[in-house]
């Protein structure tokens, strides 16, 4: 080898050697950085990739009826989702998937062709349906387990129970909304190490703070009575052609709502396409002028004030002129009536005479004491207080007369049911409630203790009950009679006030009947209100027969023995 070539070779060797040494130094430096200087940083990064902090959803509490039947439960449902980036042929996958999910193929295709790595295909489907999709082993299709709220009784008490939002099971309406905090529970937390496939690494870090399940609600509702009321209301609407209606059944001694029904209604399991108006529990949220059922309050006030007794005789004129209004009676009756007769024949004029003797302040005091013009405090969202003007706002001409017979004041079906329940309960008003007790996750029961207050004397209440019996046995409420039981109640028919037009309707009325049974020791009070019946458009013909049906069913369900013919 030439000396020059040797030198060049040596130079190359030295260069390569130097480069290798530099490389080794760089690698060594990097090694020191990774393994020593920044070891903690990389260890943390790796740990964070493996460690996952997951929220453990708390089981939402169930809702039971008073006999322990489930009205709202949470089940595990399956949600099908896709990773569109993993699907090479979306059209084929959509064609195969759509029939399995009983969906429109184009809807499925829309989901499969979205941007990103996640798209819902079908949410909260039944396990059996999901199993069919699993068996198909379609690429890019995955499954999630999600809690789903289900209402086994369907539309039976939809407006009372309400519903939750599908995404997160947060209560949106009804008792689901009112008792959101109680039902929701407290979510837990899971800290776990997972491999890239999402599997738990055995003996990896594992910390769990268990979720605390929500409390269960035991309602005062009795499913059988609720069903009987719903069926009776549906038949009544069919018979009368009414636009809608409400029924409230209450235990007067405890204030427990045994049934609360509105029609038309909706199924909380499937709200798609349902008019949001149907979600309202109209027995609580909608007010109307009660008409003659209000006479119970006026007469009670008169008895309580000592102005009259049930046997006091009044000469009833043909009409009364007050301001520019002429008041008359809608029923034929003798020219002289006792107070009992005034109630039985639903005499407007007799009631107005008693109301005017009482005066505005005293009448207002008793109306308010019976719970009108204020919320009942029912454990339900959106309850309206109705309308009861203060005596200072009462006019000199027609106000006492109108209010005495149930105009110029607006009430809810529930408020009126509670007025009658007060009389049924010997003059003591008990706060109505829908929840009987709350059962927490450990099984501890917290019963509800309702407020109570005396409104009228026992004697007044018993006298009123005797008068109410006369209404059914020989007055305007004959169709309310119940086989085997002595019952009492009061009819009401009012022209419907149209709020949009600020005027009374010429065609539509609100027909109502509110009564109690058995009359000596009432176990149930039933309030029936029909909105705009087209046939049998009066409380006596339209609503009273509904009371009869519902009261009989309720008495049978409660095991109340007959006390009459």
């Amino acid at each position: 080898m030439q000396p020059g070539s040797l030198r060049r070779l040596n130079a190359r060797l030295v260069t390569v050697g130097v480069l290798l040494v530099v490389c080794w130094i760089a690698i060594g430096y990097r090694l020191v950085v990774v393994q020593a200087l920044e070891a903690d940083v990389y260890a943390d990064q790796g740990r964070n990739q493996r460690l996952q902090r997951e929220t453990l959803a708390a089981d939402r509490g169930k809702i039971f009826d008073r006999d322990g039947r489930e009205l709202a439960v949470t089940i595990d449902s399956v949600t099908v989702y896709a990773n569109p980036r993993e699907i090479e042929d979306p059209t084929t996958v959509a064609r195969l998937l759509a029939p399995l999910l009983r969906m429109n193929m184009l809807d499925v295709l829309d989901a499969l062709t979205t941007d990103g790595t996640f798209a819902y295909v079908a949410r909260q489907i039944e396990s059996a349906e999901a199993d069919r999709v699993r068996e198909a082993r379609l690429p890019g299709i995955y499954f999630l387990t999600e809690p789903k709220r289900v209402y086994p009784m369907g539309d039976l008490a939809g407006q009372v129970i309400g519903f939750v939002r599908a995404d997160d099971n947060v209560g949106l309406e009804g008792l689901e909304f009112q008792y959101e905090e109680t039902l929701a529970g407290t979510p837990g937390e899971l800290l776990v190490e997972r491999d890239p496939y999402g599997r738990t690494i055995p003996q990896g870090e594992y910390e769990v703070v268990p979720a605390e399940p929500g409390s269960d609600l035991v309602l005062t509702i009795k499913t059988e009575i609720q069903f009987a009321a719903a069926e009776a209301l549906e038949r009544a609407i069919e018979r009368t052609g009414a636009a809608g209606g409400s029924i409230v059944v209450v235990d007067p001694a405890t204030g427990e709502i045994l049934a609360m029904v509105n029609a038309p209604t909706f199924d909380p399991n499937d709200r798609s396409g349902a008019d949001p108006v149907l979600f309202r529990n109209r027995a609580v949220t909608d007010a109307f002028e009660p008409g003659s059922t209000m006479k119970l309050v006026t007469i009670s006030a008169a008895l309580e004030a000592g102005i009259a007794t049930p046997d006091t005789l009044y000469e009833i004129p043909r009409q009364l002129e007050r301001g520019d209004t002429t008041f008359t009676d809608a029923t034929n009756h003798p020219s002289e009536l006792t107070v009992t007769g005034i109630v039985a024949h639903s005499s407007n004029l007799g009631t107005i005479m008693l109301g005017e003797e009482l005066g505005a302040r005293e009448l207002h005091r008793v109306l308010y004491a019976f719970g009108l013009g204020q919320s009942t405090g029912l454990d339900f969202p959106g309850e309206t207080a109705g309308l009861l003007r203060t005596p200072d706002d009462w006019c000199e001409t027609t106000c006492i007369a109108s209010t005495s017979i149930g105009y110029r004041v607006s009430v809810t079906t529930l408020q009126m049911a509670m007025v009658f329940a007060t009389v049924a309960n010997d003059g003591v008003w008990v706060q109505p409630h829908l929840v009987r007790e709350i059962v927490d996750g450990r099984g501890a029961r917290v019963p509800v203790d309702p407020l109570q207050r005396r409104v009228v004397d026992v004697g007044t209440a018993r006298s009123m009950r005797a008068m109410l019996e006369e209404v059914v046995s020989g007055g305007t409420g004959a169709f309310a009679a119940v086989d085997g039981y002595r019952v009492g109640g009061k009819t009401g028919t009012t022209e419907k006030y149209l709020y949009d037009e600020q005027a009374y309707s010429e065609d539509d009325v609100v027909a109502s009947f509110i009564g109690m049974a058995p009359i000596d020791d009432p176990r149930v009070v039933v309030a029936v209100v029909l909105d705009s019946p087209q046939r049998d458009a009066s409380g006596g013909k339209g609503a009273a027969p509904v009371f009869s049906e519902v009261a009989l069913a309720a008495l049978h369900q409660l095991g109340v023995p007959p006390d009459g013919e």
């Binding site: 039947r69 489930e70 439960v73 949470t74 089940i75 595990d76 396990s127 387990t145 289900v150 086994p152 009784m153 369907g154 039976l156 738990t200 055995p202 003996q203 499913t223 059988e224 069903f227 001694a253 086989d483 085997g484 058995p518 000596d520 020791d521 176990r523 049978h556 409660l558 095991g559 109340v560 023995p561 007959p562 006390d563």
Partner: protein, 137 residues
């Protein structure tokens, strides 16, 4: 400088008795000890690996059991829902109607001594009566 050490003499033994301390020559570790050490080390490794695998296996079994429990719990919830749906009055009335059942025209009331009557206990008594009737063959 240090003085040379005096020869060891046991107590009570006169000088020149002929005793001396003899130290045994160090024995060289034999190949058996090395083999034993190796086997023990390997065994310890295997034991560690085995215990690790056993723990992992148990963890997987536990995960599987948890999955099964969860699935059974889910099934339990489904069955509860099914029971609730079957108890719906609407379904029962429909089934009863299909079977030709009708409401009676007249209702007959049976009074049982000690049961029924008015008052707040009626419902509880009715529950008792239902239990009595339900227990009949």
């Amino acid at each position: 400088m240090t003085a040379p050490a005096a020869p060891y003499r046991a107590p009570g033994v006169s000088a020149g008795a002929g005793y001396r301390v003899a130290i045994a020559p160090r024995r060289r570790a034999g190949w058996r000890a090395w083999v034993l050490l190796g086997v023990t080390t390997v065994a310890a490794f295997f034991l560690m690996i085995w215990s690790r695998i056993a723990l992992d296996h148990t963890a997987f079994v536990l995960q599987e059991v948890e999955r099964e429990t969860s699935a059974e719990w889910s099934r339990h919830k489904d069955l509860e829902l099914e029971v609730a749906r079957l108890q719906a009055p609407e379904r029962i009335v429909e089934a009863a109607t299909e079977m030709g059942m009708v409401y009676p025209d007249t209702v007959r009331t049976v009074e049982v001594a000690g049961l029924g009557g008015g008052g707040s206990e009626t419902e509880e008594r009715w529950v008792d009566l239902k239990a009595v009737l339900g227990a009949q063959p």
